[in-house]
Each structure stands twice: as C-alpha cells, then as structure tokens.
C-alpha cells in the first residue's frame, strides 16, 4: 500500500546563518600559497576557491576522522585543525552538540552525516543512550531488496469500527506545538513537510490558524485542557483529533503562556486578552476519571463522527491503566509522551522529576495491552525525547508502533536548545516566537524543506536499519526487544 507513492525531493538547504557551527575549525595562516591542494583532497567540500582559496564550510569538516586530511596534505603547513570551542558550549546531556549538528546536517542534506559526529545517541547515560540495536552480521541479512520495498508506513486506525482507515507513510508524525509557542512559519513548515511525507502534524493547543486550511488533511487538532481555539468547526475540519491530557515536559501541570507572548495575533486566535498570561488548567476539569474520559471521547465523536481519536498522556506509574482505559473509551491512538521531551517552557522541577521516561513506559503499556488482548486494536505512539531515527527504532522495538517528533523538527529549523523559548520576545532564532520581526528570520520554503530533508534522512535510516535486521516492514520491529541490548546489563 502506498509503496510507490512519490516521495518529496531532497533539496540541499544550507543553514540560514553565515557561519554554521561545526565540531571542528580549520585555520589557514598567511603562509597559504593558494596551491589548491586542500581543495583537491577534501572529500567534504570544506574548502573552495572563488578567486582565492578559502576555508568556508568548517562545519562539514569531520576532523581527525577524515581519510584525507587537508592539514596533512598542505605543503606549507598553512592549515591547522582544532575542535571548535563554541561547539562545546552548545547542547546538553540529551542533545549533545554532536546531535544538534548532525540533525542540522540531516536537515541540510537529507542524509545522516558521514563521519565525525555521533548522530545516533546522546550522552544522558541511560535509556536510549545506553540501548543498542543488535544487528546481525551483514552477510546473514538475506534481504537485499531495494529501499522502496521496505514498508515504513503505519495504519493509525486499527479498531474495526466505523471510523476511516488512515495510513501514514512514515512511522512518525509531528507532535503538538501551539500557535503562540511557535511562530506561524514554524507551524506551516511542519505541516507542509508532514503533507509532503504523507503524514500529520499537530496544532497544539493554541488554536487552529486559517493559514493551515490547505493542509487540513494532514493536521491533527488538539483538544487540550485550556480548550483555546477549540470549536466545533476546528474539530470537524480534521481527520484526527488529539486529546492532550498531559505532556511529558510538564506532566501533571497546566500550561502557561507568559503575557509577553500573548501578542494581538495570539490573543485573537485564543480569543483572550493581549498581554495577559494564559493558563491551561490541569487536568481537564471535565475529566476526573476513566468513565469521564470515555464520555469526553464520545463527545468529540458526537461532534465529528469521522475523526480518529488520539489520546495524548504522559507516563505515570499507572500508565498501563491509562492506556487500557483509553482503549476501552474508544480511542484509536494512545500517544505516550515521556517525561524527558517537550518543546514548550516548563518548570525545571517537572521536566526532571515528574513521571517516567518513555523508554520505560512503552514496554509497560505494550505488554499490558497484549495481556489485555487489545494490542493489535490500538496504535501506540511514543514521544518525549525521540531525537534520532535510532531512538525511533529502539522505542518501536520496545513496543511502540510509531513516534512523534517535536524537538528534532525545531532543531532542523536550527533551534540551538538555548532553553529560552519562554523569555521576553521568545526565541531569538525566530522559531518559538510570536514577535513579527523575529518570525521573519525563517523563510517558509526553507523551513519546509529543512524538515522534509530531516524526515527523509530519518526514513532512509530506518529503512537501512530494517534491512539490516532482515525486516520488510516497520511493523515487524514492534515489540522486538530481542533486537536490543542495554549496555549496563549486557554482561549480566
């Protein structure tokens, strides 16, 4: 199904900044005799010559891993290599500078970086970062089929009910980011990329801007606790409605958009007052129990009897009960949002401490749904710290059907994870802002293509992994914990 659907094209889309940041920097002294040797040996187009020989694309340099180092080839030793100190000030345990830069690389080129960058894991010391895929020796993997025959799509409605079947062509879709927390350009870039890939992107809870209308078929609209911008009209517009009960970044806490970010446009969208902070309560005050939840789902079904229902929850100890309860309430998708992800501003205490990481929640839910005999009737989506295609593959092997992307998409737009989304005018890089001047830092086509490139790189990487595992479809990987090992328990 859909195997031959035309994929969007990867178009090289470089950074919008003059100096993309790389792990290494090369230095050219005045000794340079412009012989062009460096240009000749470099496999990565770091040097080039327009008039003079120059080093321009530092960020592409793979450093000591380079098979043909220019600094060794230089006849006059005019070139020297150093690790870029700025690189080391970036990122954090989860999104290491390597991951940031490699995600930028994917967004630029549509492929994973060749060398020099760890693009698969971060440095958090646990979870994904200590899990490894076990790949059989290459010769044992008999599947030598072309990429096009590996099926990475996902059916979202697995209940046998009156609701439509909806297939997405990649096993991921965009998680909710609200208008107001990100700019309209960011929103549009995401949804246009999702449309190109045959998947979805979620509005988040800040309303459903008219600009998204052309892409209604690829929009998931969110019904969150603040009910901002939610009306019958928005619910009836889409094919999937997502209830946001909680989000991993601030499980158990309501949303809060600071007054600074409530610009006239945001206020209009949410029908609120300019300059005043906006609160989303927690929880849904109309849902205090699982039977209330069923009623809640029934309500949305009453408004739009054709939209699939996704229930986004975070990961408490009884996440298994939440999932089973959601199944019985009639949900099609249960979306678990683990505690380490999130894009919006949240109290640090919540991000660090409340609820469990997604790596634990998915296997718990997967197994309990199996035990309940309903695993194959519901789609299990994981999010909250899925940074790379490897994270996606690992969480699928732990039991998810697919994943939601969030931060990775913002990184593709050159988010640098300075964590200052909430302050003042918002994101200085024009991603998570409502400031008109800052928003203009991103061109819509650029943004769209960057995310398409990222997704294409993910897709390609997932296909490569599946082929290495000898699997023809992503569905075969679901729950295959035997394909994983955790370094801490490997020898025990």
């Amino acid at each position: 199904m859909n195997l031959n659907k035309e994929l969007p094209e990867v178009v090289i889309t470089p950074s919008r900044f003059k100096n993309p940041i790389g792990k290494y920097r090369l230095h050219r002294t005045n000794e340079c005799i412009e012989c062009g040797k460096c240009l000749e040996v470099c496999p990565y187009d770091v040097h080039f010559k327009i008039g003079r020989v120059r080093t321009k694309n530092h960020y592409r340099c793979v450093g000591p891993e380079c098979p043909n180092p220019c600094y060794e080839a230089c006849p006059v030793e005019a070139l020297s290599l150093k690790r870029n100190p700025t690189f080391d000030t970036m990122g954090d345990f989860r999104w290491t500078p390597d991951l940031l830069v490699s995600t930028w690389y994917m967004a630029e080129t549509g492929a994973v970086p060749p060398k020099g960058l760890e693009y698969r894991i971060g440095d958090s010391g646990g979870g994904f970062d200590r899990l490894r895929l076990i790949l059989p020796p290459p010769h044992r993997t008999k599947l030598a089929m072309p990429d096009e025959e590996v099926h990475v799509g996902l059916e979202l409605n697995r209940r046998n009910d009156s609701f439509p079947k909806i297939m997405i062509d990649v096993p991921f879709y965009g998680a909710g980011m609200s208008y107001g927390s990100v700019s309209i350009i960011t929103m549009l870039s995401r949804v246009r990329a999702a449309a190109a890939l045959g998947t979805f992107s979620c509005t988040g809870e800040g309303g459903y801007p008219d600009e998204l209308k052309p892409y209604d078929d690829h929009v998931i609209t969110q019904v969150a606790t603040g009910l901002f911008g939610v009306s019958e009209e928005t619910i009836q517009r889409v094919r999937i409605v997502e209830f946001k009960y909680a989000q991993g970044a601030k499980p158990g806490l309501g949303g809060h958009l600071l007054g600074d970010k409530v610009t006239p446009a945001v206020a209009r969208m949410r029908e609120a007052v300019v300059g005043y902070p906006l609160f989303s309560p927690f929880p849904f005050h109309s849902v205090y129990s699982v039977e209330d939840h069923k009623k809640h789902v029934d309500w949305i079904k009453a408004i739009n009897p054709n939209a699939l229902i996704s229930v986004k929850v975070s990961t408490p100890t009884d996440v298994d009960m939440v999932a089973i309860g959601s199944y019985y309430a009639g949900a099609h998708i249960i979306h678990l949002d683990g505690s380490y992800g999130g894009t919006g501003a949240a109290p640090d205490i919540a991000k660090k401490n409340i609820a469990m990481p997604i790596e634990y929640a998915v296997p718990i839910v997967h197994k309990s749904l199996q035990k309940e005999g309903v695993r194959d009737k519901i789609t299990l989506i994981a999010s909250g710290g899925i940074r790379t295609p490897h994270d996606a593959a690992k969480i699928i092997a732990l039991g998810a059907d697919g994943v939601c992307t969030g931060t990775a998409e913002l990184v593709a737009l050159e988010c640098i994870r300075c964590h200052n989304c909430e302050s003042g005018r918002g994101c200085a890089r024009g991603i998570a802002t409502t400031d008109p001047a800052l928003m203009r830092l991103i061109d819509l086509n650029w943004g769209t293509q960057r995310i398409i490139n990222l997704f294409m790189a993910w897709r390609k990487e997932l296909i490569r992994i599946l082929k290495r595992l000898g699997m023809k479809s992503i569905g075969e990987l679901v729950g295959r914990t035997d394909c994983l090992v955790h370094l801490d328990y490997m020898n025990k």
Partner: protein, 871 residues
Amino acid sequence: MKKHQIIQNIIGSRKLLSNNFPLRNYYKKEGEGGCGVTGFASSIPVRGKHIFEPSRQMHNRGNGLGGGIASMGFDPGMLGVSKDTLEDDYMLQIAVREQGVMEDLEKRFIRPCFKIDFSEIIPHVEDFRDIPGLTIRPPDIWRYFVRVKPQVLKEFMEKSNLLQLTKRQAEDEFVFQNSFRINKTYYDAYGSQSAFVISHGRNFFILKIVGYAEQVVQYYKLENFKAHIWIAHQRYPTKGRVWHPAGAHPFIGLNEALVHNGDFANYHSVVEYLGQRNIYPLFLTDTEVSVLLFDLYSRTYGYPLEYVIEALAPTMERDFDQLSPEKQQIYRAIQTTHIHGSPDGPWFFIIARNDTENRRFQLIGITDTSMLRPQVFALHDGEVQVGLICSEKQAIDATLKSLADEDSRIGTVADRYWNARGGSHTDGGAFIFNLDETPSSPFERKLTCVDKFGKPITVPQGQAPYIPDSAQSMAEDRNGKRFDISRFFNNQQSGLLYEYVKKGIKDWDYGALLECLGQIKSCALKNNANFEVSLTALTKLLDLSYPTHDKKRRSILQMTNETLTSMFRHFPYLEGGKNGIYRLIDWETRQLLREPIKNEKVMIIDASLFPPEGDNSDSRLMTEAFHRGWKRFIVFGLKGQRFHGCGLGPGSVGVRIDIYGSSGDYLGSGIDGLSIYVHGNTQDQVGQIMKSGKIIIYGDTGQTFLYGAKGGEVYVMGNAAGRPLINAVGKPRVVINGTCLDYLAESFMAGDPLDGGGFVILNGIEFDDYGQVQPQPVPYPGSNLFSLASGGAIYIRDPFLHVDEEQLNGGEIVNLEDKDWKLILPILKENERLFGISVEKDLLTVNGKRMSPLKTYRKVRPKQMGIDQSD
C-alpha cells in the same frame, strides 16, 4: 483513661491476627478507573428489582467487569429465620469459588466458634449463561446465621484482654477477626483465591460478581426480595482481565457496606496508617481501605459519625475558618491525629450501615473535600419515604420510576434534589438517611435525613402528594364536569391558561387537576395551534416556580410530565399519517428519518429507548436530522442521554431544541448558533466551548459549565456546581440566578465586558417552598472566585457585601458604575422574561426596600496589573 485502654486492647488483640502475615508492599493491585454508585433507603422494604433500573442506567459508568449490591433490613420470612435471629445473629456469607474448600473452612472457622441457627447456599439461576452478557460464573454463596458460642467468646475476651467490652462489642470484634482469619487462609490477592467472606454483619448482606450490578439481582434471584436499603455499584476496573469478584464493591467493615467511586492518591500511606493499627487489607483496593477506616473510627474508636466524616474528609481553608472556635479546636485535633489516614484524591462513598446499638439503619453519602466525583442526593417524602443517593440524577429518576410503577404512593419526582458541598462548614459534604423503627408496624420505619452536623433536611409540611389511583377516582366522581379552557385556545393565550391552572392548583383537588390536564391534552391534539398553546402553558408549569398550596410540587411536576409525554406520543411518525407541523420519531422508527416535507417543521424525539451515546444515540439522530433540513426539535423521555446539540457545527442559527426529562452530560457543548431550552436540571459539562447561540436552563446545572466557552448567551434559573466558566474566553454572557459551589470563572479571559467582552451575573437567589424569590445565605460560598482571570467580569448581587477579597486571587471587587448597569440590565430583563425573576421586585428589592442597582450589585474584575508571572 479507660476508653483509651479499651481501644488499645482491641487494637492489640488484632496483633495476633497478623502474626506470620506476609507483609507485602502495599501497592494497589486492583486498578480502579471510576464507577457508578447508587443507593436508596425506603421506609418500607422494597423489592430488589428496583435497584435494577438505576444500575442499568449507569452502565456507562462501569464496564461490566464488576458489579455488586448490598441490601439491608429484611423481612425475616424471606430468609427463613425468625425476626430475632435476623436481628441478633450475624449473617455470615462466604463466597466460594472452589467447592471443596467449604468442608475445611466450616471445620476450622465456623463450627468450632459459632452456634449456627440457620444455613443455606443461597439460591441462584441454574446456569449463569442464561443471563445475557454474563460470562464468568458468579461465586456460590454460603449463608450462615450465627452467634459466637459463649465459651468461645469468653475465651476470646480473656485471651485478648477485652473484658471491659460489652459482650456484644466483643462478639462484633470476634466476628470481624474471624473473618480476617478466613480470608487470610482462603484468599490471597497474589495467589490462590478459593473463598472469602463477602459479608458478616447483622441484617444485611452483600453480593458481587464479575458483571454488571443488575446481573447480581438476576443471578441471585433478588427481583422480589425485599429490603429497606439497597446500594449498588458498577465497577470500571481498568487493569487486566477480571475473573474474580473479590475486587468488586461493596466492601464490609462489620455492620456496614461501602461502595466507592474514586481513586486515592495516597493509598500506600493510608495502608501504612492502618497497618500501625494492626489492620491489614487483603483485597488491595481503595474501597476495602475506606471501609476499614470507617470501621476503625466508628466501631473501634467509637467516634460519633460527624467526627468519622471529619477524619475522612477534613474541613479546609475558608470553610474551616467559618466554623465556630469550639468546632475548630475539635476538628483540628481530628485532622492532626488522622491526616495520615485520610484518603486524598477524588472519592465518593455510599455506605449502608446497620447501627445496631441504636437499632437504626443508615444510608450515608460522603464526598471528599474537593467534590471531584459526581453525586446527587434526593428526598422523597410522603406515605412512603425514600432517600436516594446516586452518581447521576437519572439513576434517581429511574429508581423512583421503578418504585412508582409498583407502588402508586411513590411519585416519579422527588421533593428535593441536592448536592453535597464536600468538606464544607455548611453541610459537611455528607448526608445521612436514618431509618428508625416505628411503633406502628414491624415493617415500616421512619426516614429522616440530616447532614454531617445533624441539621435536618425537610420538605414543606402539610402538602399532600398525588396518588394516581385516588386522583383517578376523584376525577371520575366529578362526572366529567368540563373546564372552561377553550377560550384560551381560541385566543392563543397560553399565559392565561398557565395562570388558570396555577390558580386551580390552589382551588381544586387532584382529581380536578388531573381532569383539567386531560382536557388540555385533548384540546392540544385538535390542531397545531392548540398544541402550541398547551405546550407553552404546561412547560411553564414545569419550568417556573409558584406556590403549590396543599399540593406537593413534585406531584404537580409528575402530572404535568405525564400529560406532556402522552401529548408528545400522540403525534404521527414520519411514515404515513396526515400532514402536520409535528412529527414524532422514536427508537423503533429511527430508520425512517428523512428530510422535512410540506409544512413539517418540528421533530419530536422520544428519546426513552435510545442509548446515551454513540452512533445510535438520539443526539446523533438529531444532528443527522439537522443536516437533512430539520430545524426545530423537541426531545422528551430522556434518561441521561448525552450530547444534545453537539455536532451541528457553525451555521445552526435559527435551530431550536427543547429538552424534557433527565438530560445528560455535555449538553450544548460546542454549539455555534442554535438555541437550547432545557426544561429541568442539566448535568455536567453543559455548553463547553460554546461559541454562539443560547442555552436556557430551567433548573440547576452541573460541573464545568461553559468550560472554555467562547461566546453565547446562557441563563440558568438555579445553581451551577463547581468550576463554571473555567477558561472561558471571548464574549460569553451568562446569568446564574442561584450560586456556584466554587471556582467560578477561574482563568476567565473574556476581554472587557464594557467593550464587547463576556461576563457572568451571579444573583445568589433561590425560590423558597412557596415559589418566592429569596436571597441565598451568601451569594457565593466558595473559597475561590475569579482566580487568575485576565478578562471579563462577574456582577454579583451582593447588597450585604458578603463576598470579600480573601476569595479572590488576581481579581478585585469594585463598585458598579452606570455603564455596567446599562450593560447588564437588558440581560436581566431577558432573565425576567424567561424565569419570572423581576428586576424591580426581586433583584433590586432588598429586605422589602428598593435599592439602587449600584448598591445592590458589585463587580469583580481582573486586577489591572495582571497576575504575578511567577513561572
């Protein structure tokens, strides 16, 4: 301290029980999602079949994986024992899953300790598969009427150092401990589960199965079994395939059975609290723990009920401050002593209790301090008195309907319906229906109702109820004397017709009233114009408040309802019939749905058989009908069906829906243009995300009314429950004539009301028993008003300045200005037109004196600075 020593001895004696008891981590094993609970107490014993309908009504609060009932106060004859045995003996019931086990159990735990006065395996349907939907065989129940052998009791008292107890207290304790031993031996939550004690108190029993509660009634053949109190529970467990009913409710203490809707946040530490008192839960559910707490406080500690309730649901914040200093001292002591045992999180308990010491049966409803679980209380007074407690009002209606069908002394409407305000200084969040013995008859008891503080709940005195049979014969005695009502129809004067009947209520007897209503009906059916007149007049009888003199208001409502229903049912279906404006559709004929033809205008939906939600619900049918061109709807016969008005989408301006009967949750949630008139109370989640249009409610409304609303006009004749208008934005304009529980307009963001934004008018009034408008004690009792709001305003009728700054968080109270009054006057005028609440005579008249609006109303608005942006 003697009392103290006795208590210590009782607790000490239980220490022996837990010897060698494997103390596991006290994690909840049974996941509890939520539930439906219902119960009623009747002054005469009534049949089990009456718990059937309310249980069925609450199917959507359970999932068929656990149902149970308890009944209390029996006719001894039905059990094959004498009255004395029934009252004095413990009714030990053991649920058996492995047949072989009973011989051993009897040998070890029953025969050596007890004198058995009677025993049987209780009757049940031969094959459980004969009951539709039942998939797991319910347990066999072995029933014993027992007393502890005197010698055994004596030894127990000596060995356990309980000689200071009365014999009966010691015997109670023995039974309690013996059951623990039985369960410990034959029931292991983690292992084999061959038998367990399902109940052991006096004059009551519990039955539970893996299935729905009403299937208990069927399986154990209780349809005709009579008892004074019935409670039932529909369970919604969310974990695992349930194959064993031990986790279902009710659970027992000694002489009480408890059902529970909720989930504790601190189960673990409550279990630790009990463990320190040598009480160990075996079934690992919140409910078991709840009833063990109740038994500990009431039987072991001997606390009066008020204090038991306080220990479970402490009085907090503003409510605590409003208690008297003496009460504060006692409550503070209770709270500090028992806080670690008090369940946090949402819960609502219904307890059937045999207060053996006072020879009294009790039906108790207790809600937690934050009232996060739905609950409704009702009192039906008359020759037969009934007290009811349910999760939802429609379950109460269903109970009364079921009872009324059998016994015409019982009406289909209760005299009073109310909600408890959890942990409050006003009612304490708990109500108790007491059934006391009467000298007149051994089977009849007297029912009284009090709140936590012992304050009685009463109904107007000296009013007679409508008894259909006798009214019928009175009517017949009139020999068909006509009423002069045709003039109202000729001139289309529905208002005068209403006034005529209203006056008649004073002058006529029930027979005449019945006859008159009958004539109105026959006029109505003559032509469409007549029907309009009758409908309007009768609807006013339902909607408005007026004195009912020597008659009960509930009776008038019952009669009006019956008349309306039979009028509605008279209209033709969509197929055939002659040409007309009105068309009827019901469950049987729903397939006939088509677009309106010719002059058809109004679709009358008989909702009685429709499911409450889903593709086949009547609300979905209505949406479909709307898309086919219908614009006027009358829905009647509702039993809690939900989602009326949902899904019509934008472009529904001009649509009008009239709702009769027990409407369900999410009414009008999302409407964008249409108008809904609800002739009675509404439930929870009314008007969520409403964008435009109108909702008029001739009664009260429930939780989270207008949550996230964006606009529209809404009028509520009575009260709203908790959190009305939370997160509402845009421009909703709302009148609440009564008051709200708490959290009114939290995070209200509705712009500037003087510049097109939204607002709420809170009148804080109510109708007294004579239909007169009276101010409520305070216009707003809650602790939180307009919290974190950034827009909109609340106009409160508060001439005595009851509302104070302490209730605000981010808002401020200011005086009304002329422009404010100009803004709200037209809305109040419309309110007057709808509900008959006069601006001049009712709202602006204070203690008989006409006041300036600027002195009568106060305005709450956001502080100009906005709230502290502390995160």
